[in-house]
């Protein structure tokens, strides 16, 4: 193990579109999935990550390197996470939450879920549909009926769709 020999161990991760990435073991083991592989001795060659594409994996590795460079200071880690996620679009956020789920990285998963929720906050149904590309498959009658059933969710609500 790296900690015992004193030289940092590097792992090679392979995305599902066959891109290879080198990453320090100390950063990669933020993923419980990868950590388990390392502990089971499966990390000798290339670690295949079948559920993550190259673009997303590159992002996740940036996060792994960034967050592991911060000493145990929850405030600083939080502000790093906020900054890291601030410029990500919705598609990327959705890909990231799936990757974080697969890689078993609860801190990233938590942060991305919170970010997606934050984006949806105080927004109208129309705005969320447009931004997330959600296709409305209700017939007008069905939509009216669902709205009627959930009438309470529209009471006393002010939406803010300006961005």
């Amino acid at each position: 193990m790296a900690a015992e020999t004193g030289t940092p161990t590097t792992l090679t991760l392979k995305s599902n579109d066959d891109e290879l990435f080198s990453v320090a073991e100390s950063a990669a083991i933020l993923s419980v999935t990868i950590r388990n592989m390392v502990e089971d001795g499966c990390a000798g060659g290339v670690i295949p990550l079948d559920n993550v594409d190259g673009k997303t994996l590159a992002s996740v590795i940036t996060y792994m390197n960034g967050i592991s460079a911060i000493p145990a200071d929850e405030e600083k880690k939080k502000s790093y996470r906020d900054k890291f996620l601030s410029d990500k679009d919705f598609e990327t956020l959705a890909d990231m939450v799936l990757a974080a789920n697969y890689l078993n990285m609860s801190c990233l998963m938590d942060a991305v879920s919170a970010k997606i929720a934050q984006v949806m906050e105080k927004k109208s149904v129309g705005w969320v549909r447009r931004k997330f590309g959600i296709e409305n498959d209700y017939t007008p009658e069905e939509e009216a009926a669902v709205k009627e059933e959930h009438k309470w969710t529209f009471e006393g609500v002010e939406t803010d769709d300006d961005n």
Binding site: S113, E121, G133, N136, D137, Y138
Partner: protein, 354 residues
């Protein structure tokens, strides 16, 4: 209404089966698994989560899996205080709302359950059912705030029935426990082990209830009891309390408050007045709100001074909202603090008298 809803549900479900993916090609968010989407929706307010049902059929029932049921209408409720008629009407509406959400709710676990509305004792059975609902879903944070200034009636009391052992069938559902306190209640009706925060406002909580929570909620970190008339001599005790935040506010029947810690090794029972060796190694700031200068106020501060080894600051706040000659009482308390306390406080501890 009920029949109509069933019809809509079945129609949309048929549609869902036909198309496995109903969003557009770029709609990554809708492609997320249900549990992740439910987790995202749990972070929104209940209204906002419920509103996503209108987005598309994929979203229609997702919000029902939220693990946070926060029935808070605090902002809207101010208007109620002035007009009793309005309050009565909206109380009926509130109860109906909560009941309808609970009927459709699907998650088997709850992180948060919060009731906040001026209810009265006539809603007793309903409130108890809500508590049962939350407790049967291993709720972690439970708040019941039914403060009702303008229509005060008989106090709603925390139902003892919830704390009573049920049949042995229920006990089989309980994981085996090594907590000795559980032995007193071998077959609990509900599992209280997940509770981390409990808050009761204008709810009759008794000394026995407090004992029960401390004995049976090993994760309990926060306990707030406000305006309980039943509280008289609570004892905050336990062998391995995780309690970090304790608030007992405006409990007019309060006669005494006893902190009793069990030493994990010797299991000896120590009371405050004998607890010279029990040191609080973390408390740095102690604020005493409503200091009156009575003998027991001074005694409590002596105890704090003697046992909080890293104490840096004591703040005395002689603030009285309920006194008619408020200013005079506060001034007397302030002088008392200067005369009686100041000489006792060592130099390295800052004494602030507000």
């Amino acid at each position: 209404m009920e029949g109509k809803r069933v019809q809509i549900d079945s129609k949309v479900q048929r549609k869902c089966r036909k198309t496995s993916f109903v969003g557009g090609v770029d709609d990554r968010v809708s492609q997320l698994p249900d549990d992740i989407l439910a987790d995202i929706l749990s972070r929104l307010s209940l209204k906002e989560a419920g509103r996503t049902s209108v987005l598309s059929s994929r979203w229609m029932n997702l919000w029902k899996h939220t693990n946070s049921l926060n029935f808070d209408t605090k902002r809207e409720s101010h208007k109620h205080y002035a007009q009793r008629k309005l309050l009565k009407r909206d109380r009926r509406k509130y109860v109906k709302w909560v009941n309808s959400v609970l009927r459709s709710h699907k998650s088997t676990v709850l992180k948060e359950f919060r009731i906040r509305f001026p209810l009265n004792a006539s809603d007793r059975n309903t409130i108890t059912q809500w508590l049962e609902f939350a407790l049967s879903r291993q709720v972690q944070k439970l708040e019941l705030d039914i403060q009702n200034y303008y229509d005060p009636t008989e106090e709603y009391c925390f139902p003892n029935g919830l704390l009573i052992p049920s049949s042995c069938r229920a006990s089989k559902l309980q994981p085996p426990s090594d907590n000795i306190c559980i032995d007193h209640h071998p077959c609990m009706l509900f599992d209280f082990k997940s509770l981390k925060a409990l808050s009761f406002k204008s709810v009759g909580v008794s000394d026995g209830d407090i004992n029960f929570f401390l004995d049976n909620c090993p994760q309990l970190e926060q306990l707030i009891v406000s305006q309980s008339k039943k509280l008289s001599k609570p004892e905050i005790c336990g062998s391995s309390l995780k309690l970090k935040h304790l608030e007992l506010v405006n409990c007019c029947g309060l006669e005494s408050l006893k902190f009793k810690w069990f030493d994990a090794l010797s299991r000896r029972d120590r009371e405050v007045k004998d607890a010279i060796k029990i040191l609080h190694r973390h408390l740095k700031v102690f604020k005493f709100c409503g200091y009156y200068g009575a003998t027991n106020d001074v005694e409590l501060l002596s105890y704090i001074l003697g046992n909080c080894v890293v104490l840096e600051k004591i703040i005395i706040d002689p603030y009285f909202t309920w006194s008619r000659d408020k200013l005079q009482v506060e001034e007397t308390a302030r002088n008392n603090a200067k005369q009686k306390l100041a000489p006792q406080v060592p130099q390295h501890i800052e004494l602030v008298i507000l």
